[in-house]
Symmetry: C2
Subunit: 223 residues, 2 copies
């Protein structure tokens, strides 16, 4: 009984969410603001990569960052300190995902009118965030070398919903077996449009290609 009720409520929540996400997408289209949603497991290196990316791009485009966490503020203060760009913290009070209502509030709070790119660092989780359309133009999913190349088999929704896939901590292949080709093939079976960026943000290898790709996407929307 309880389960059936949960499922019904979930369907209504997801339908509401889709219409809110569509509204947010329309608003941001009008404002010519690109909205990037970043998702991964805990500890895959989202914050480190974002700091590196933002420092490459911040002189070319105007960037804002929304950091989501269940109840911490560590990432927001790190990103703001390391990049100087406008950053806000969204706390989900224990929820495992962000929905379009929360992201709309986040974008209202950060004020997107004078920005070209808003980056959302979603909750570290390979399950729940994939279920909710955040209203983003693009979802970037990180898979770190230490997590293993089998994760697309085990968390298929995330690897189906993402648009671009970043293999992080590539410098750790000296310690961990991670077969990039296997990982790519497993993702492509779920998601034939997937684009890949293997890199090490710490060693500053491979981040250029991702930064150029994002810059092109953001500038296309600015036109």
């Amino acid at each position: 009984m309880a389960e059936l009720r949960v499922i019904k409520v979930k369907q209504s929540v997801l339908a509401n969410n889709d219409s809110r996400a569509a509204k947010l997408r329309a608003d941001l289209k009008e404002k010519k603001v690109f909205f990037l949603n970043v998702m991964s497991s805990p500890g895959s290196g989202k914050t480190t990569l974002l700091i590196n990316l933002i420092n490459r791009l911040k002189d070319k485009i105007r960037i804002g960052v929304i950091e989501a966490d269940m109840d911490a503020v560590v990432d927001a203060s790190t990103v703001e300190r390391e990049t100087g760009v406008r950053t806000i913290q969204l706390n989900t009070s224990g929820e495992c995902h962000l929905d379009a209502k929360m992201t709309s509030e986040g974008i209202e709070c950060i004020g997107a009118d004078d920005l070209d790119l808003v980056i959302l660092e979603n909750i570290g989780n390979l399950v729940c965030p994939a279920e909710f359309d955040t209203g983003a133009d693009m979802s970037m999913v990180l898979l770190s070398v230490p997590e293993g190349d089998d994760k697309p088999l085990k968390y298929p929704l995330m690897f189906t919903r993402g648009n671009i896939f970043v293999f992080t901590k590539m410098d750790a292949t000296i310690v961990f077996d991670f077969d990039v080709e296997k990982a790519k093939q497993r993702i492509l079976r779920l998601n034939p449009q997937a684009t890949f960026f293997p890199l090490s943000a710490k060693k500053d290898h491979g981040v250029d290609a991702l930064a150029d790709y994002l810059l092109t996407k953001v500038q296309q929307k600015m036109k």
Copy 2:
């Protein structure tokens, strides 16, 4: 509106779950079966550690394994092949956690009457699995070195609910900064009863201490 309904249903689901978990715990007390719940992020090394542990313990106690995944069967077949112990796969059809109803069904399915220890490998997720009492005697939480020592700050419920904490992939400290003392202190602030086991299952360092600890706990319940 939708949010309020979700919260109400969630409270009723959690209350139902608590009574189911209590019933399962009573059943397993009568049967003298120890039930261990294993939780972590995706890719923290749950499967590798379990294989190592089971191979150390399987000649001393009778072990069964319940592998939970959203819709894959890779872990169950790996554990069965590598250890030879009875293993079943529980698929949650996309749900991000196991509740006591699912674990009760899993234990019925595996048949615990001739076992001393049932190990549940929960869904790889630091958020949702912490919310639901599975009926286990003990929850073991893994935190891998590549994830970082800040995870207790960001996922406090998981580190509050766990009983024993295993720092995995300690061999990776040659590549990653991970301050064991900082991680311990952050967990102890949430959970003063926490017990810690730093180890590398791959290099076979430190697993003995954890195996001995578990064996003692299981044998105490068998008496």
